[in-house]
């Protein structure tokens, strides 16, 4: 007999396996309605391929895998797709999820299958594709897609294939009955998987010694198959020997390191149910559409194993086993140790349903209330993962996630052995499950917050960059403007000298006054004119549009019209103000000018509005009149006119100040200039009088 190793801890709960082994493998009549959740495995939900009302045949693909960690879904019977909707799922949360609902037509007609008699010579990638296409997911309870396990990373050499027929949990006998009735398929499946893994040296079928019938059946089948590499290894019964890592250690003595897979120590482990499903998928082309499930519990009249199509409502199964609703304490999917309570019987059998347990209250009483931990250490003695459950319990209570991780809570297989032995009835494994969920949630949150931080910082950098670019542009524009100003000043210096030498230009003074501004008066005027014109044309356009528009839009356009009107007014006011300034400057200069030559209206911009030209005409007339006067008279007249204008300007300034006009400053400077000039003239007059 082959040497086996022992694992740390473990317990020996009442097995309760005989009840369901009294009757042979049975079946229930086809349910009228099958409910197929899109996510019956670990990984992403499958994507439905069928539409409502579509006719499907048994074995037809109805939803395909979404990505590598996902599994195909096939119709378990022929019928019509009734709907695709959310239904209650067999999940500890009691939540619901998307399901394909098939109304069976009762014929159970198979779709065309593609058998493969000689898989020994087939390419292993082809076989892998076949298994993947069949949608097989770990049938021991975890539901990990089988094809992924059969395709270990390239650099790993697999020397041992283990088939897990342990079935260590109480009550469950589905694998037992499978090995008893289909031993030859188990062996054939072992040969198939061995071939696919590149013929590892040994294939070990691990079976606990509480299943003598299964061991005998397998050995008989092995004798006929005549394959020296395959060996059935019985080993002492102990819970939880069926855990993958535990079984690897029992059969090979190798310990799978924390956070690693059995493949890292050269082992691939498959459940016997998955093995048979893989064999049938390759040999007969049959996808996974049914499974063997133990239906057990004192609330049932018949306790046995059945082969049941996936999607069959559990209520339907229970109904055909004499379910006594008044007797049942609760409904459990899975075993008493690791299963979960179902809130309703209205959930379907899925790929991972190895047991439906309907115990009476006497059989499975409510756990007594938890008491304080007395630090007896029994939990640490039974922990198959060599953890310190008591420490984990404290840290879970305190929600100290760092400490929990330091104590390797991730290696907890949630077998429940600690809760089973706890003399204080503390539901230890519940604490670990919750804490593991919190740790997972925190990891997700952390990842998200890191991503958020990166995004936020990137945005910050981007905005700074944009701001810097804008600033650089602004600077460049400023520099260009300064250069242009300098150039203009130089030009003007040259241009201003000329008229002084040749002839006294009336506008020269205006230009000089306008020097305080960057642009020459002509340019400024032209610019203002342009602005006024464009504003006017825009106003007209908007008017036209307002007339054409209707309904809600009209309001918006009317608002725009108002806007445009305001703009026109604004521009016109600016234009008028500019003209006024130019005019007052030219008038003032003209009045003080001793020269007669004032005719330079052609120098005025052609577009100069009438007001300006009229003022210039007036100034010209005045100048002409002055020419005929004596200097003293002239001076006197000038003084008089200037005086009235100073008065006027002062009045205007006061008014402007009262109105809080924006041009107050301009008025004030104008007044000051005029006053200065007045004083100068007065001085001149006194001088001339003294002279006279």
């Amino acid at each position: 007999m082959r040497k086996t190793w022992d694992i740390h801890g473990g317990i020996h709960p009442a097995e309760n396996k005989t009840q369901s082994l009294q009757s042979p493998l049975g079946s229930v009549p086809l349910a009228p309605e099958l409910v197929l959740p899109l996510n019956q495995h670990i990984g992403k939900p499958a994507l439905p391929l069928v539409a409502e009302g579509e006719q499907v045949l048994k074995g037809q693909l109805i939803a395909r895998a979404d990505g590598p960690i996902s599994a195909n879904l096939h119709a378990p019977t022929s019928g019509i797709i009734q709907s695709i909707e959310d239904r209650a799922l067999p999940h500890p949360s009691g939540g619901s999820g998307p399901c394909i609902i098939i109304a069976s037509d009762g014929n159970d007609t198979w779709t065309e299958l593609e058998p493969c008699a000689d898989f020994e010579s087939a390419d292993r990638n082809l076989l892998l594709d076949k298994i993947r296409a069949a949608g097989i997911a770990g049938m021991g309870g975890a539901g990990f897609p089988t094809a992924i396990k059969l395709n270990p990373r390239g650099n790993l050499t697999i020397d041992t294939l283990i088939l897990n027929g342990t079935e260590c949990e109480p009550y469950i006998t589905a694998d037992d009955i499978l090995m008893q009735t289909r031993a030859d398929e188990v062996i054939a499946g072992a040969m198939l998987l061995r071939h696919m893994l590149g013929n590892p040296e040994q294939v070990l079928i691990g079976v606990e010694d509480n299943k003598p019938d299964a061991i005998k059946a397998l050995n008989d089948a092995l004798a006929t198959a005549d394959n020296k590499a395959i060996e059935v290894v019985p080993f002492p019964t102990k819970y939880p020997s069926g855990g993958e890592k535990q079984l690897v250690q029992i059969l090979t003595g190798r310990e799978v390191p924390a956070g690693k897979l059995p493949a890292d120590v050269g082992v691939v482990c498959q459940n016997v149910g998955s093995t048979v499903a893989a064999y049938r998928a390759v040999r007969f082309g049959e996808p996974l559409v049914s499974r063997i499930t133990t239906v057990v519990g004192e609330a049932l009249e018949t306790q046995r194993n059945i082969e049941v199509p996936l999607g069959t409502p559990i209520g339907h199964v229970l109904q055909h086993h004499g379910f006594n609703a008044s007797k049942v304490a609760r409904l459990i999917m899975g075993g008493p140790m690791m299963g979960f309570t179902l809130e309703t019987a209205n959930v379907p059998v899925v790929k991972t349903t190895n047991c439906i347990l309907a115990p009476s209250a006497k059989e499975m009483p409510e756990p007594p209330p938890a008491q304080a931990c007395i630090r007896c250490g029994m939990c640490a003695e039974v922990c198959p993962a060599n953890l310190l459950p008591q420490q984990l319990f404290w840290y879970s209570m305190a929600e100290d996630l760092e400490k929990l991780e330091a104590h390797n809570i991730a290696d907890c297989i949630e077998c429940g052995a600690c809760s089973y032995v706890c003399p204080s009835n503390i539901p230890l494994v519940q604490y670990y499950r919750a804490s593991k969920g919190t740790i997972r949630q925190h990891a997700i949150d952390k990842e998200k917050s890191d991503r958020s931080r990166a995004r936020f910082e990137f945005r910050q950098v981007r905005m700074e960059k944009a701001e810097a670019e804008k600033e650089a542009k602004r600077k460049a524009r400023k520099l260009a403007a300064e250069a242009a100003k300098k150039k203009m000043a130089a030009k003007q210096a040259a241009g201003v000298d000329k008229p002084k030498v040749e002839k006294a230009d009336v506008l020269a003074s205006a230009i000089a006054q306008a020097k305080s501004q960057d642009l020459s008066p002509e340019d400024q005027l032209a610019k203002l004119e342009r602005a006024a014109n464009s504003a006017r044309s825009r106003l007209e356009k908007t008017h036209a549009r307002a007339a054409a528009a209707e309904g809600e839009k009209k309001d918006a356009i009317l608002a725009r019209v108002k806007d445009a009107e305001l703009k026109v007014q604004d521009t016109e006011r600016k234009l008028a103000k500019f003209i006024e300034q130019t005019q007052s400057a030219s008038a003032a200069e003209a009045s003080t000018d001793k020269q007669e030559d004032v005719e330079s209206p052609e120098k005025q911009p052609a577009a100069e509005p009438d007001a300006a030209s009229a003022a210039i005409e007036k100034a010209k007339v005045k100048a002409a009149a002055q020419a005929s006067m004596t200097p003293a008279e002239k001076l006197q007249q000038q003084l008089d006119s200037l005086k009235t204008r100073v008065e006027k300007a002062r009045a205007r300034l006061e008014k402007a100040e009262a109105d809080n006009d924006e041009n107050v400053e301009a008025f004030r400077t104008g007044l000051e200039k005029m006053q200065a000039k007045y004083e100068k003239l007065t001085l001149e007059q006194t001088n001339s009088q003294n002279d006279g």
């Binding site: 949360s93 209250a361 009483p365 409510e366 919750a434 998200k448 890191d450 931080r453 936020f456």
Partner: protein, 207 residues
């Protein structure tokens, strides 16, 4: 040399001490330059604990500035999105007493929310896009906007600028994927039922 040491032990000791101090000083000086830590590590550590919603409820324009603020002695209880968990974590890091959340800055919400734009009503003004610290809103001027749910931190900042009030904060739907077990309920008063009469609550009693 030996003669010198034996004749002037005080001087020799002095020279030895000065020599040693020079050597160690040089080593320390070199280490200070070579292994200089850029930035303030405590700010980074605090920032790593903050939830990175960048919501500004603490009065700072983002989580990093608040981390800086905490490092400069600000109270640590101004972060409603982080809630008590974050306060505890920061208190743990800084080795101070953990205060409760300062209600002035907002309340800790029970459920995680994300922004949702009612797309029929969106006028495409881009105001929310500019407000979003996460760049989680997609859209262009006069085009409908939408929220990238995976990137939204639920900071609320886009709700206020919306001129047509078409942004709602909706709770994130929990899926089976992120479902987790709850901790077992603990007895409310901290005592345990240990005498036989306490057990009348058991189902056997009334079944």
């Amino acid at each position: 040399m030996i003669e010198l040491i034996s004749q002037h032990p005080i001087v020799a000791a002095l020279i030895a001490m000065v020599g040693l101090s020079l050597i160690f000083g040089a080593v320390l000086g070199f280490a200070a330059v070579k292994f200089k830590v850029e930035g303030d590590p405590i700010v980074e550590q605090i920032d790593a604990l903050l939830p990175q919603t960048q919501c500004g409820q603490c009065g700072h324009p983002g989580c990093k500035p608040y981390a800086q603020g905490i490092a400069n002695g600000e109270p640590i209880n101004k972060c409603p999105p982080g809630g008590q968990v974050t306060i505890n974590a920061i208190a743990d890091l800084l080795d101070v007493e953990a205060p409760t959340l300062d209600e002035e800055h907002g309340e800790e919400s029970e459920v995680q929310t994300v922004a949702y734009i009612r797309e029929d009503e969106c006028i495409g003004c881009t105001k929310c896009i500019q407000a979003c610290p996460m760049d989680a809103i997609l859209g262009a001027a006069k085009q409908m906007h939408t929220v990238i749910i995976d990137e939204c931190t639920g900071c609320d900042l886009c709700v206020e600028p919306c001129p047509v009030d078409c942004i709602d904060m909706v709770p994130v739907e929990s899926t089976l994927g992120d479902w987790k077990w709850d901790l077992p309920p603990r007895s409310e008063n901290g005592t345990t039922d240990i005498i036989a009469s306490d057990k009348v609550q058991l189902p056997e009693a009334h079944s």
